[in-house]
Assembly symmetry: C2
Homo-oligomer: 317 residues x 2
């Protein structure tokens, strides 16, 4: 059986809504998968009973501590070694679980990854990717959305590879198109980073690069993968999330396009380029978001995404 | 009488809709202002008659040439010295007109500015500013939106001053608030540029700096001036423009918030930090956009914006 680990103490509505999500999982999920929770076993019992979760498929590893949003990640790692968020990474590192997700302190997640997991050989910088909706009804990937703030052209080139493999293997998009987020269509446009990244992307045989994309293309153009540095990507991601709130205020939260900006649909953001599947959830994750994160983790495990990335990167070098 | 110059040959719908806009100008405009057109006098006559423009207030300087979108700006400047877009700058430089606007080739506009106008003493880099709507119904300013792509912290610090003076003098906003577009609220967040710009903005006595702003704040938060480099700003501007098209496709072009994203409302983007008021129009400017550009030029002249900027910058140094 394959196991997905969940830090049930992470997130504004944890463990309550994390537990609630388990009863929303479709039957097919339990055919090959089990859940391993990390957190307070009393709360696990309490909410598990309340939400009638299938206890036979779910275990809880007791963790005596937890990391809050205001904890300093490196300090927390030293002072709260048994916190749920870190315990999950230990189980992932020793292969007791096959994917891991948390909606907790993002900085603590990154410390866990850096300290307890291995990067994939050949990867310069792991990247954080996010789905963004398109007006066509499709979803596209944006990479990096906040893990790598000051980037070199080589990073962007590799982000394109990582997201393309994810698009192909997890989202089942054949020969995914890659665009570079820029301020003009023609080659030579942009800042020094995008000018130089363009050259690398253009000669990158592992991806299907289709050129520069502009701000107006982000939601209107069906490019599968949009590449940018984590500064630009994080601003775009948060702007996109705010559109759902804006649409809601305007009574448009049921609109077929604007409803897609609801963070619940994304089900968290995968980190690619590390040895195991890890998903970072939104702090305000509710039961739908947790459910979608678990199903995304399942897809990543089924696709053997980390192995595929390792193969492709090492074939390259 | 004060005079506003218009390149009637610039823009997808010029001279037709440029001329049409003149009959939309309110009566009060003509009390202190006159228009000076640059372009083909036959077309000026033809469309002027068709749209019943008040010929007694408008003259047309014949220009035997025009610059198209596909002309290389520097080459066009050498080979088409009498093109309408450049003639306007000559009239502006020798004070025959008091403000100038064109919806033509942006690169040619920049060559005109650089070659024929003076920068304001003390200004490191002139900046392009744009209005962006807020969900509250207000408009905020974003600076720079595409003139300065690779920036130093000092540039951003000055952009904040330029836009604050514009907000105060032209938009009549008292003590306008300034935010730095960034990827986290706390000081120390962001890329090297924003980290260092934060320090300068924080100790800048000429502005009312209120800290970092995130992607989610761009449309939801009432900060008057949002500062960023021209790479980020251009992406945000074009994304914002695309929201109007997206809303239109969804039948929401009359929505009180999304309708504000219609470029017509902005009336073009002022360049600040040069010796005279210049406005760059959108290539697809129609008569409403042209009318709003002319009225914005009027406000800039009335506010004596360039003089105010020069005073404030030189008082500083």
């Amino acid at each position: 059986m394959l196991k997905i680990g969940i830090d049930i103490m992470g997130g504004d509505f944890a463990p309550d809504l994390a537990l609630k999500s388990f009863s929303l999982l479709p039957n097919y999920f339990w055919e090959n998968f089990r859940l391993v929770c990390f957190g307070d076993t009393n709360l696990f019992q309490k909410y598990g009973v309340a939400y009638k979760i299938p206890f036979e498929y779910i275990e809880c590893i007791p963790c005596s501590d937890e990391v809050g949003y205001h904890d300093t990640p490196t300090k927390a790692f030293k002072e709260k070694p048994n916190a749920s968020i870190f315990q999950g990474f230990r189980y992932l590192a020793n292969n007791t679980i096959h994917a891991y997700l948390s909606a907790g302190n993002t900085g603590a997640m990154l410390v866990g990854i850096k300290t307890l997991l291995e990067p994939v050989k050949g990867i310069i910088r792991p990247a954080l990717i996010s789905l963004l909706p398109k007006i066509s009804g499709k979803f596209g990937l944006t990479v990096d959305v906040g893990l790598n703030i000051d980037c070199k052209p080589e990073y962007l080139d590799q982000f394109a590879i990582l997201a393309s493999i994810f698009a192909e293997e997890v989202l089942k998009i054949k020969n995914p198109s890659v665009g570079l987020i820029n301020i003009g269509e023609e080659e030579g446009k942009g800042n020094l980073l995008s000018q130089n990244a363009f050259k690398l992307l253009q000669s990158n045989a592992l991806i299907h690069f289709i050129g520069n994309k502009e701000g107006r293309d982000i939601f209107t153009d069906d490019t599968d993968v949009m590449v940018c540095d984590g500064f630009v990507g994080n601003i775009l991601l948060k702007l996109a999330e705010s559109l759902y709130n804006i649409a809601s205020e305007r009574g448009l939260d049921k609109d077929i396009f604007f409803s897609k900006f609801n963070y619940e649909n994304y089900g968290g953001m995968p980190i690619l380029g590390i040895s195991k599947p890890v998903i970072i959830g939104h702090g305000i994750s509710n039961e739908v978001a947790f459910k979608n994160m678990i199903l995304l983790a399942q897809k990543m495990v089924d696709a053997d995404i980390c192995q595929k990335i390792e193969q492709k990167i090492n074939h390259l070098s």
